[in-house]
Symmetry: C2
Subunit: 208 residues, 2 copies
DNA sequence: CTGACGCCATGACATTTGTCAGAAGCGGTG
DNA sequence: CACCGCTTCTGACAAATGTCATGGCGTCAG
C-alpha cells in the first residue's frame, strides 16, 4: 500500500550533523512515498519544526544540542499525538532504549543500517508498528534493569564530573555523609572499586 | 579545471556508520569529477581498501573501530604517498587537529558541513592544498599546547578509567608515590581539584 | 662544566574517601 | 498493624589520595 500511496509520508529529520542530515534527506527523497518536510539541527529546533510542519514521522538523533532525541520525543507525544517518533543513534547504550520506549518512541535503530533499510523502518513506524534493532534490543536485555535506587543514580550522576563529595552534597542538598553512603552502595551494587569506575560502568549501561 | 576533468578524483570513504557512508557515497557520486572507488567501516578495512584501490583522496572518520582516522592517515602517508588524506569528525577536540596535521592530514572538517562543501574540500585537498575548518582551528589555537610533560600525560591517561593509584603504578611500572606526584602536578597545571576532573579537562582539550 | 629541567623515588602529613553500624521517619504491602 | 525497603542522617575507623620537602640521576644548553 505504501509505495503507491498518493499521500506520501511526511518526515521530519533532526540531526546536528549537516552532512548526515543533508545526505539522508537526499536519499530518503528518492523514495516516492517519503517526503522530508523539515530538518532541524538541535532539540528545540526540532520541536519548533514539528509544531510548524506537523510531520507524520519524526526521525530524531539521540545526541543533539539543546535537548536530546528522547526528550524531544516525550514532548512530541503530548503535543502531537499523531506524530510517530523514532530514534537513530551512533552508539546506543542499553539504557537509552528503555528511556526511549517509555517516551513513546516507536523505532530505535543504529546508524549502521543502510538508508534503504531506514526507509523501510520509517514506513513500518508510520504504519503504527514498532521496530527495534535486534542487536540493541539484546544488549538492553543483557544489561537488564538498573540495580540502583533513584537517589543512588541521582548522586552517581552528580559525581560524574569527578567533583569532590562536598560539592556533590551541595548540588544534591544532602549531607556529605549521606552522599558517601549512596556512592558506596552504588559502587558495591555495580561491582566497582570506587565511584569513578562506578560512574563509567553505569554510563556504559545507560543507567545514568 | 576540476568539474570537466576527464579523469575524476578517486575517493576512499571510511566511516563506521553505514547510514552516513552510504548517503555520502551517493551524494559525492553525483559530482561528475568525483568517484567513490572504495568504502570501509573500520580502520584496518580502510587500510586494506586503500592498498587495493589506490585512491587519490582518503576521507577518514576520526572515530572508527580498530584504528582511528589519524592512525590510518599515518600509515597511508608512508605506504601511499600519492594518496591525500583528510579527516571528518563529529565532535572535534582541539588536540586531534594537531595530531592529524602532524600525521600529514591535509583536510580537517566537522560533520556539520554540507555535502556540497565537502566535495569542494575534497577537490581542494586533491589539488594539494590544505583545508582546516576555521572553528576547529580557532579552538585548537585557544586550547594551546599541553602544559603536561610526557610522563604526566601518560600517567593521566592511564588513570582515565578511574583505577586506583596502585593499579596505575602497576600499569606504568612506576612507584605509587611517583604516580601520585605526577597526578598531583598534572592536576595543578590543569587547575583541577583532583585527578578525575583533570582527566576530563585534558580529554576535552584533546591532550590525552 | 654548571645550572636548569625532567624523571623517578621516598617519607611524612593532612585531607578525602570508602566502609560499617546504627537510628529515625516514611510509604507501601500483606 | 507489622514488616520491609528507601531516604536521610550521624559517628567512627580504615584506606586511598593529595601535598610537600627532599634527594639522586640523566640530558641538554649556555
Amino acid at each position: 500500500m505504501s509505495v503507491t500511496d498518493p499521500t506520501p509520508v511526511r518526515v521530519l529529520l533532526a540531526d546536528d550533523e549537516h552532512l548526515i542530515r543533508g545526505a539522508l534527506a537526499a536519499l530518503l527523497g528518492l523514495e516516492d512515498d517519503l517526503v522530508v518536510v523539515a530538518e532541524a539541527a538541535t532539540g528545540p529546533e526540532a520541536l519548533a519544526m514539528a509544531r510548524a510542519h506537523q510531520p507524520d514521522v519524526a526521525v530524531l538523533d539521540l545526541q543533539m544540542p539543546g535537548a536530546d532525541g528522547v526528550t524531544v520525543a516525550t514532548v512530541l507525544r503530548d503535543e502531537l499525538p499523531g506524530c510517530r517518533t523514532m530514534i537513530v543513534t551512533g552508539h546506543g547504550r542499553p539504557g537509552h532504549l528503555k528511556r526511549a520506549l517509555s517516551a513513546g518512541v516507536r523505532g530505535f535503530v543504529p546508524k549502521t543500517v543502510s538508508a534503504q533499510r531506514l526507509a523501510e523502518i520509517i514506513r513500518t513506524v508510520h504504519a503504527g508498528n514498532r521496530y527495534v534493532d535486534p542487536e540493541l534490543a539484546s544488549d538492553a536485555i543483557a544489561a537488564g534493569d538498573s540495580p540502583l535506587t533513584a537517589r543512588e543514580a541521582e548522586v552517581l550522576e552528580l559525581s560524574a564530573d569527578g567533583a569532590p563529595v562536598t560539592e556533590i552534597a551541595r548540588r544534591a542538598s544532602l549531607s556529605p555523609g549521606t552522599v558517601r553512603n549512596y556512592l558506596s552502595s552504588a559502587a558495591a551494587k555495580l561491582g566497582a572499586e570506587n565511584r569513578h569506575t562506578a560512574v563509567r560502568l553505569a554510563q556504559a549501561k545507560g543507567w545514568v
